[in-house]
Amino acid sequence: MEKKNLICINCPMGCRIEVTEEGGKLKVTGNSCKRGELYAISEITNPVRIVTTSLFVNDGVHPTVSVKTSREIPKKMIFKCMEKLSAITVDAPVKIGDVIVKDILNTGADIVATRNVDLRFAI
């Protein structure tokens, strides 16, 4: 691994952190506290993110429902996750917390609804 530059997001300081590898060990410089080091190491070794998006809803009072991954998934799987979700539509009604997809891409994270969408009644 060559050196990598990051900006720490733990506090407003926004330390510019440099991570280099020395003899199989990661060396973090530029951080002004321990949290910066931990952040940098997790960002380099296993960066993870919560993914949020919205899906189309059939027969809902709104055209979409917002969703999120129930836990963080590896950063490199974000686009694969989005691709998988683009093929999915949800039937109304949907309640906050409803599981839309279980264990997406074997990440251990579920796709859960983050809002309520009631059924639209035919007029």
Binding site: P12, M13, I50, P63, T64, S66
Partner: protein
Amino acid sequence: MHRDLVIIGGGPAGLAAAIKAREEGIDDILVIERDIELGGILKQCIHNGFGLHIFGEQLTGPEYAQKFIDKLLELGIEYKCDTMVLNITDNKKVTAVNTKDGVIEIQAKAIILSMGCRERPRGALNIPGSRPAGIFTAGTAQRFVNMEGYKIGEKIVILGSGDIGLIMARRLTLEGSQVKMVLEIMPYSSGLKRNIMQCLDDFGIPLLLNHTVVKIHGKERVGGVTIAKVDANRKPIPETFRYVECDTLLLSVGLIPENELSKNAGIVLDKVTGGPRVNESMETSVEGIFACGNVVQVHDLVDNVTKESYLAGLGAAKYIKGTAGNGGREIETYGRNGVRYVVPQKIRLDDMGDEVNLFLRVDNIYKDVYLSVSDGGKTIYKVKKRIVAPGEMESVRLKKDSILNMENDKLFVELIR
């Protein structure tokens, strides 16, 4: 129609204020919201990161809003959605309209203003060029993409690095659009650090500081923009003009508190914040009319909106019950030496609790400074700050005892080297 308390706006500010007022014993409350549902702009903010301070967990916008909506329903607080307030008067008469009731007039004992803010549009920037389709404010784009399910464009340039613009850069990238760049006229971003990292750097989207759009091209639809580097006076440098092909331009260039109604009621607005001048109870210059949330000052964290709105709810409840103090000694707050403004602008010693929270914003990035509060001479509070930035609101908590001994009635909040 008569109501004890009318709250204008059912976003996070209005909801929190209503809940607090009910908990303080006010039964007769009406919340008026112009959208078809409660929750305000949070409903379109589907990303996570809300609620860390209030709930200790990361929620999405709709989840944060729903917690307050559920509480409002549980408390049986009355609300009208799809209802637009047209006017308020200084004797607290509210005129509103909807398709069910027609025009309604409500005489309130107290009013809480929680109308939020609106985005600065293209017209406020004076960018030359034609007027094609494909120019959006970032928040409008957010609503179209997240709530209505539209794709707004393929090749996108974002002007302004406010948080909504950064969030949309990520969102549009995930939806398959190509975000070519984010331009920022200032030498620093006005967005939160975590958004620059997780919305731009994660996806390799360049942030061009000291850059702006000098011309918009296209007839039916945006075809491209001319961008330029700016000098120290923020004037575009002609030699740096460059054409960038795109079909969509997003503007994320600042928010302005929405105070058309406040002006009608003769409420005094602060020149810097654009919102009403308020006291420690969030009461405006018109007795019995309170304000909270982005209508007062633009916040970067909704958690702070909620806290401020609890104060307004409490203040309104006391006013209605007649248990508010008589004011007593009044102290005015001022920002100077790098501090742009301070909210609240006035503190009444008889009405404040044991302490008061001052919110402020600085005018530039400063490192290793002291944030100081004084009466002009004697320092009554001082804290070291390793960094302060315009994009991150600061707050100072002052104990009542420390204010009591002030020699005059002016309180200065400033930065000292």
